[in-house]
Point group: C2
Chain length 341, copies 2
C-alpha cells in the first residue's frame, strides 16, 4: 500500500508506505552495552548531587525525600536576561530569546526506564507539569510554554537521568500556530471543534483507537507522521491543559502507565519524544476551536533528506495496523476504575 | 547570546543559543569501528552486483564503465501502480501515493566518502540529477520531483554505498508550498524576488557568505535551523533547476567540491542531508518570485521533543560564526576559473 494522507488540522502530508518497512540495511547503530547504576556519582540529577544544579525551583516529596525536582536548565535555550538587539527588518527579523528553560527531574533513580515508571510516578510528573505550566505562563512577556520529554540520545536527550523539560517562550511556535489556524478554519466551516469531531468519528469507526478511559482517548492519528505515533486527548472539549483537576491527572497517569506498558512490551526500550499541546496565552478566541492533547513520537527511524527537504513524512506502519497491535498487547490496567468507560 | 530569528521565506522560527552548545552529555553514540571495503560482495549497488537491482534506468560511463547509475528503489515510497482508494472526506483525506522512487548511485566505490569526491564525480552526479529531474517531472500526474541525499545512518541512510534519491510526487510538498507562498507574498509587497534581495543584502554586509563563484553564492542562511546549515544559490534569478546548462553544472561541481572539502576539514566525516528546491510543474505564476537553490543540512545533533512538539528549532552555532570559520578553512579551489568573481 502506498497512499498520501493529509492531516486535517496542520495540513502535514505523510506517505504511508508499508512495503518500505521491509528494506534491508547494512548500517547498524548498535551501541555498546552499557551498565548503568541506580545512582551515578557524576550525574547532576542524582540524589546527593543537588548542589550541582542551579538553585531548585520546585519539588514534590514522597516519604520525606524528593521524588520530582525542578531546576533551571544550566544551558538554557532562552533566558529572561536575553540582551540581543531586536531587528524588525523584513528580511532579517529577530527578537530577544526571552523566556525560561527548566528541567523536571522525574525520578531519584538514574537508570529508571520510562517503561517501568509506576502510576504514582506518572501522577507526580503530571502534577509538576501543571504547576510549572501555571507558574511559567503567567510570567510577563510569555506567550507559550512548551513541555516535552526526550528519551534516549536518538531522541535528543543529552543526559540519561529521567527528566522532562519546560521552555517558556515569548511567541507562539509555528506548529501551534498551524494547529490554531487549521482548527479555527474548520470551526468556521463546520461549527464544531475539529478535535471533537475527530474523536466522534474515531469512536464510531474504531479503527485507530489504542485504548481509552472514561475521560481520555488514545489514538493512532489518521495522518501519523511516525511509526506508532500516539495521541492522548481528553474526550470532553477543553482548550487548555491548565484546567485539568487532580482526579483527571490520576486518570491520565493510569493511561500513561498503560500506554507505555503496551509500547514497551511491543517495541522494547525504544527512544521517543513526548510533548504537550495547549492553548497559548491571550488566545481566548480559540477557546471553542482548540483542544489540548499530548503526543508520543517514537524515534524508530531517523528523519532523512526527503523529510527535511520537503516537509513531508514517510511512515512505514499504517496507523490502523499500529492501533491493532498496540490494542492487542495485554496490560494489567484493565481492572482500574478509570477503565470503566 | 539567545535570540529568536524568523526565516523571511518560510516563517520558520529558530532560537540561536550559542551557550547551549557547551552542555555536557553522558550519552555517547560512538559506533564500533567498521572496516569498509572498496567493493562489498553483499551490496546491491557495487559493481558486479548489477543484477541485484531492478533493471537500470540510466547511467553515465567513464572509461567504458558506469560511474553513475540509476535504478528503481526496490522499496519505493510511492509507485505509479498505487491502488489505494482515494478519500476526499474533510477529516480523513487521502490520495494515491502515485509516483516514482529512484536511486542515483554516485560512485563505483562502496566506501567512497562524499568528502573525498572529485570534481568530475560531482559533475556527473549533477548531470544525472538534471536528467532524472527532466524525465520524472514530465510524467503524467507528477507535480514535483524531490532530489536529496542521505549521508550516514544518522541522516537516514539505510545503505552505505554512496547514493542520492529522486522521488516524483503527485503533489507539491508542504515546505515547497511555504516557500512559494512566502516568496509570492514578498513579491507582491516589494516587487522583487525575495531570494534576489537576500543575495544582494548578503553580498552587501558579507557576514554570512561562505564562498562564491561567478554564478553561485554559498551562504549560512540568516535563520539557519541546523548548525553549519548551508545554502547554495544561483546569483542570477532562475526559478527552475532544470534550466541549468553544462557550463553552470561544471561551476556548481567545483563549488560542491569546495564546500564539502571545507566542511570535511572542519567537522570530519559527519552525517548530513543535501536537497534541491525548485519550482513545481504548472506553477509558472511563480516564475518571477521563486528561485531554485540547494541546501546542506548537517546532522550534528538530533532533533528533540522541543523541535517535534513546537515546529521551532534550536541552533547552537550562529550562522555568522559558521560562515566565518568555514570561510577561513583553506581549500585548493581558489585557482579554478570559476572562482574569478
Amino acid at each position: 500500500m502506498t497512499e498520501i494522507r493529509t492531516d486535517p488540522v496542520t495540513g502535514n502530508q505523510v506517505i504511508i508506505a508499508t512495503e518500505r518497512g521491509k528494506r534491508p540495511t547494512d548500517l547498524k547503530s548498535v551501541l555498546p552495552e552499557k551498565k548503568v547504576k541506580k545512582i551515578e556519582d557524576s550525574c547532576p540529577f542524582c540524589p546527593g548531587n543537588e548542589e550541582k544544579t542551579p538553585p531548585e525551583i520546585s519539588r514534590i516529596n514522597r516519604r520525606d525525600k524528593w521524588t520530582v525536582r525542578v531546576v533551571p536548565n544550566k544551558y538554557p535555550a532562552v533566558s529572561m536576561e536575553s540582551s540581543c538587539n531586536i531587528n524588525d527588518s523584513i528580511l532579517f527579523k529577530k527578537e530577544k530569546g526571552k523566556g525560561k528553560h527548566e528541567v523536571i527531574i522525574e525520578s531519584r533513580e538514574h537508570n529508571k526506564s520510562f517503561f517501568y515508571m509506576d502510576i504514582k510516578e506518572f501522577e507526580y510528573m503530571l502534577k509538576m507539569y501543571k504547576k510549572r505550566y501555571k507558574d511559567l505562563i503567567n510570567l510577563e512577556g510569555i506567550k507559550y510554554v512548551s513541555i516535552f520529554k526526550n528519551y534516549k540520545k536518538e531522541a535528543g536527550a543529552s543526559l540519561e537521568h529521567p527528566h522532562s523539560q519546560a521552555i517558556a517562550l515569548p511567541l507562539v511556535p509555528k506548529l501551534i500556530k498551524e494547529e490554531l489556524h487549521g482548527s479555527k478554519n474548520y470551526f468556521e466551516k463546520e461549527g464544531n471543534c475539529i478535535y471533537c469531531d475527530i474523536i466522534k468519528e474515531e469512536l464510531n469507526n474504531n479503527e485507530r483507537i489504542i485504548t481509552e478511559t472514561k475521560n481520555f482517548l488514545v489514538l493512532a492519528p489518521y495522518a501519523s507522521i511516525y511509526s506508532y505515533h500516539t495521541q492522548i486527548i481528553p474526550k470532553e472539549h477543553k482548550s487548555n491543559f491548565e484546567t485539568i483537576n487532580n482526579k483527571l491527572i490520576e486518570e491520565l497517569a493510569i493511561l500513561l502507565f498503560d500506554i507505555f506498558n503496551r509500547m514497551g512490551r511491543l517495541l522494547g526500550d525504544f527512544p521517543f519524544n513526548m510533548y504537550l499541546h495547549t492553548l497559548p496565552k491571550d488566545e481566548e478566541n480559540h477557546n471553542k476551536t482548540y483542544h489540548w492533547h499530548m503526543e508520543i513520537a517514537p524515534r524508530l527511524s531517523n528523519q532523512a533528506g526527503f523529510e527535511l527537504g520537503s516537509g513531508m513524512y514517510i511512515n512505514t506502519v499504517a496507523p490502523e495496523q499500529a492501533a491493532k497491535v498496540l490494542r492487542s498487547v495485554p496490560t494489567n490496567c484493565c481492572n482500574k476504575k478509570a477503565y470503566i468507560v
